[in-house]
């Protein structure tokens, strides 16, 4: 019991616990490790568990069906490289360097020397080649399989520290794809363990054998329904090679979420050091209860950082009357985005003019279209302009309601996801604003929202954009004609807007070197000259991750003043936070 180093509120309970520990069955007692003080322990509550339980505690192979890198494999499997969009900084990791051929049909990766897996086997280019070739062969059966399969022809090892990837098509973004950032990146697995296993069902979990095997500084010492416990390995190649400091954290306990209120309570009582994305309203409550709690923006709104996923009011561009750009712009003029921020998010948000986040590497592209945005102001709230556009489009207003040229009322059924914080939070606000200006809008949160949205069985929807974080290609691709009805949740043209000229520009962006910012800026401007007057979907607000961080035991959390990375414990970059934290 006491071995868990959890805070006990009073001596009485501690006494009971010690007494009870003597009666514990041997099996449970054996699982307890040496005592590590609370101030060397990092405790976090994760959203991954369901109903207060870990469902995937035995799954440490992130490719197996049912496992999720967000729940622990993200600190076990090290990547070829990390990328911090906040700092616009690369951390070359298991890869020392990489080089594309000029036609982007071949990629040579040099791997680090002197790296060992935790069972003593040396890490080498063989592991990298094995991972990629296996993903290519597995295809749709596992995560990332399709992406690798589409691009990769063959990965070959030319010497123990060099692997050469031959592509089927030019793939200038392949290395960025495999790099860890947010939730995207390819996990490199140990060939000597995974070879011969069925990746979809192999668990990679046996604490007695030292599994999961890792190159990182964390080993799994206990994983059960109620907690996952990691302890520091004192031999870590990256600290030896001075790429990173040895983490100060000696033990980390990951607990499953049992509910918003419970988590707020645990943060207040210092039983937890950080948690997941919480509701805006919970933050003032937590600050009142524990002044040591901070967020990315201190104790001020929006209590978090901008996620890569700006929210829009989507309308189906294949459906009349929303195939008419005047109607789309009219809807845009009817929406007061400040009210969405104030009422929908209690002030904890900000408006979004373009469907991508204002991240440092993307700012030049925002600047590049300043002139266009001045002309086509996607944030403007002006019902009169909206009225004029609808009148032009042949609509008439009777008794405060718009009727189309065909005599039918202008209706818009908005659907959004029942799960998640955005639909229920801002959906009613958006639909009410449209109703006030004569559009018969309504909101529903159907259980099969994702299916309907993806198949285009919708008129309106509130959803985000999974596009760019570093350069504009991914966001532009969201509006390419060929991305319509591509299955998936991101990189999909949900608005079903089509323009052949726009498509051509995007194809040109694809074969442009991502480092060639000047050329990309010109292309982006050209693309937006087509996109903005048409306004395929109506821009609303940025999406935020609001994560509480407790400075009672740990400091140097990533914040707006110190934005070395985003603070999400579920993202692939969380190891950076873990080696940056310092005892308070």
């Amino acid at each position: 019991m006491t071995g868990l180093a959890l805070p006990r509120r009073d001596v009485f309970k501690a006494g009971l616990a010690t007494g009870a520990a003597a009666m514990l069955p041997a099996g449970i007692a054996a699982a307890q490790q040496t005592t590590i003080p609370r101030n060397q322990t990092l405790i976090l509550i994760k959203n991954g568990g369901r109903d207060g339980r870990w469902v995937d505690y035995a799954l440490w192979n992130p490719y197996s069906i049912g496992s999720n890198h967000q729940n622990g494999p993200n600190i076990i499997c090290e990547p070829l490289a990390y990328y911090s969009a906040f700092a616009d900084k690369w951390y070359m990791w298991l890869a020392e360097s990489y080089q594309f051929t000029p036609d982007f049909r071949q990629l040579t990766i040099k791997t680090r020397q002197g790296v060992k897996w935790s069972d003593g086997t040396p890490f080498s280019a063989e592991d990298v080649a094995y991972t990629f070739n296996a993903l290519r062969d597995l295809g749709p059966k596992v995560k990332w399989g399709v992406d690798v399969n589409q691009a990769l022809d063959e990965a070959t090892v030319t010497d123990p520290n060099t692997v050469v990837l031959k592509f089927k098509i030019p793939s200038p973004r392949f290395f960025f794809f495999v790099t860890y950032k947010y939730d995207i990146g390819v996990y490199i697995v140990p060939k000597h363990i995974f070879q011969g296993q069925d990746w979809t069902s192999f668990k990679h979990f046996d604490i007695g054998k030292g599994w999961p095997v890792t190159t990182g500084p964390w080993k799994v010492v206990d994983a059960t329904l109620s907690q996952k416990i990691f302890e520091r390995r004192d031999a870590w190649w990256a600290a030896e090679q001075k790429l990173a400091p040895m983490p100060q954290i000696r033990r980390s306990i990951w607990l499953p979420n049992t509910g918003e209120q419970q988590t707020a309570q645990a943060m207040i009582t210092n039983e937890s050091d950080t948690a997941y994305d919480m509701l805006p309203a919970s933050f003032p409550t937590m600050f009142r209860g524990n002044p040591k709690i901070i967020t990315h923006t201190g104790q001020k709104p929006p209590y978090g950082y901008v996620d890569w996923w700006p929210l829009s009011l989507y309308v189906n561009n294949e459906m009349a009357p929303f195939d008419n750009r005047n109607v789309r712009w009219a809807l845009s003029y009817y929406i007061d985005r400040n009210q969405i921020v104030e009422v929908g998010f209690l002030g904890a948000s900000q408006v979004s003019a373009l469907p991508m986040p204002p991240y440092k590497p993307l700012l030049p592209y925002f600047d590049a279209v300043k002139d266009l945005l001045a002309k086509y102001n996607t944030l403007e709230f002006d019902p009169k302009k909206g009225d004029a556009l609808l009148t032009d489009a042949g609509f008439r207003k009777q008794n405060g309601k718009w009727t189309g040229p065909d005599g039918k009322p202008l209706t818009l059924e908005i659907i959004s996801a029942p799960l998640g914080t955005f639909g229920p939070a801002i959906g009613p606000v958006v639909s009410e604003m449209l109703r006030r200006h004569g559009v018969e809008a309504s909101l529903t949160l159907p259980p099969d929202f994702n299916d309907r949205f993806q198949k285009g069985q919708y008129a309106g929807s509130i959803y985000g954009h999974g596009g760019s974080i570093r350069e504009p290609y991914d966001t532009l691709r969201l509006y390419q004609g060929k991305s319509i009805a591509v299955p998936g949740a991101h990189l999909v043209n949900f608005s079903r807007w089509k323009n052949p000229d726009f498509d051509k520009i995007v194809d040109e962006v694809y074969v442009t070197d991502p480092q060639n910012v000047e050329k990309l800026k010109d292309l982006f401007h050209a693309a937006m000259e087509i996109w903005l007057p048409d306004l395929p979907d109506i821009q609303l607000v940025q999406n935020h991750h609001r994560i509480p961080m407790n400075t009672t035991y740990w400091k140097n959390w990533p914040t707006a003043d110190n934005p070395y990375i985003n603070g999400a414990s579920w993202h692939l970059t969380f190891p950076l936070v873990m080696w940056n934290l310092q005892p308070a």
């Binding site: 019991m1 959890l6 309970k13 616990a17 007494g19 009870a20 520990a21 009666m23 069955p25 369901r50 109903d51 207060g52 339980r53 469902v55 995937d56 799954l59 069906i65 049912g66 999720n68 967000q70 295809g139 749709p140 059966k141 990332w144 399989g145 399709v146 992406d147 399969n149 589409q150 947010y182 939730d183 995207i184 069902s201 329904l225 109620s226 306990i253 607990l255 049992t258 509910g259 209120q261 419970q262 988590t263 309570q265 645990a266 039983e271 937890s272 029942p418 799960l419 998640g420 259980p447 099969d448 994702n450 299916d451 993806q454 591509v486 299955p487 998936g488 949740a489 991101h490 990189l491």
Partner: protein
């Protein structure tokens, strides 16, 4: 005769099981939703990214879940699986099985509901009997209006008030969950104490409401019984009033009360689902709430099926116990 009665009752129980399974199978099919695809897309949207191969992945999953076969084959497979106690995998929590997840949640619900139901039944019965007894203290009459008022409130609304009062205002008791975050679920005093503290509010919201119901029903029964001739006769014989009260009135009034218990189980359980959901109590109700949120069809089906079967079985047991409890009911009558 006993055997025939029991067999007949058991057949009714089997029909309930079959009906529940069939309903469970066909209702979701009517909607034309594709649970696997919906699930995968939802996971994808939460996880931040999904690759283009989702259609293929849907096929792989559908095969795994047996959804690629014709409907009648699916139905037969389903009935066969159900007969073997296999309720498939949870879609949202693959590779966990529905049976496994229900198995974890069931003890919480059985514990909470079993204890609260028995306690409120016993307390309500005694209270109701006392309310009808002329010899009871006068102040007990004042208990009636609050009991009536409580009885008319849904469990979960009372839970809301209790939660606000004791967990938020006074902070005496935890607001959520079955045990503290980070507590080590082992058989220790700390943990048992922790569990009890978390159970107080959900239990209170069930007990306070249902005590009123049982008390009112019992009181009604008592008043009727006290008017019976044999009671008058007992009085005339000069028996002590407490003897008449316990031996003659209560004993006869308690029988219909027990019948009521069987009928009430379903209602109590429906109410408890909501109580668990709002308190985040890790039982069947909260699990169902999660399953609804995650649109996990198999888990929803599994829970509904399990609950129906469990209640059907409880009713079956009560049914075969009645004749034994009350000699006036013969096995022939039904």
């Amino acid at each position: 005769m006993h055997a025939i009665y029991i067999v007949r009752r058991f057949l009714v129980f089997l029909v309930i099981v079959w009906l529940a399974a069939t309903l469970n199978f066909f209702l979701p099919k009517l909607s034309g939703q594709d649970p696997v695809r919906t699930k995968l897309l939802e996971e994808a949207s939460l996880g931040g990214y999904v690759h283009a191969g989702i259609e293929d992945m849907v096929k792989v999953y559908q095969k795994r879940f047996g959804l690629d076969k014709p409907l009648w084959r699916q139905y037969l497979t389903y009935i066969d699986d159900v007969a073997h106690g296999d309720l498939n995998y949870s879609i949202a929590n693959y590779p966990r099985t529905v049976v496994g997840m229900i198995g974890e949640a069931l003890p919480w619900t059985v514990g909470l509901l079993g204890l609260t139901t028995l306690f409120s039944f016993a307390a309500g019965t005694v209270l109701g009997a006392l309310l009808a007894w002329p010899g009871a203290p006068r102040w007990m009459r004042w208990l009636m209006p609050p009991l009536w008022a409580l009885h008319a409130i849904p469990f979960f609304l009372l839970g809301l008030v209790l939660m606000w009062l004791f967990a938020f205002q006074f902070q005496w008791l935890p607001i959520f969950g079955g045990y503290s975050a980070g507590a080590n679920p082992a058989l220790t005093w700390t943990f048992v104490f922790d569990i009890l503290r978390h159970a107080v509010l959900p239990a209170l919201s069930i007990v306070l409401v249902s005590v009123g119901g049982w008390a009112l029903a019992m009181r009604g029964m008592m008043v009727t019984t006290m008017g019976e001739d044999y009671v008058t006769f007992a009085e005339a014989k000069g028996l002590r009033s407490s003897t008449i009260f316990t031996r003659y009135c209560m004993r006869n009034a308690i029988l219909p009360q027990t019948t009521g218990l069987a009928l009430a189980l379903g209602t109590i359980l429906s109410g408890a689902v909501l109580v668990e959901a709002i308190f985040g109590y890790p039982g069947i109700g909260a699990l169902l709430f999660q399953a609804i949120e995650e649109n996990d069809f198999f888990l929803i089906q599994g829970i509904v099926f399990t609950v129906i079967v469990a209640l059907g079985f409880a009713t079956f047991l009560l049914d075969i116990c009645y004749p034994w409890l009350d000699p006036r009911i013969s096995y022939h009558r039904t």
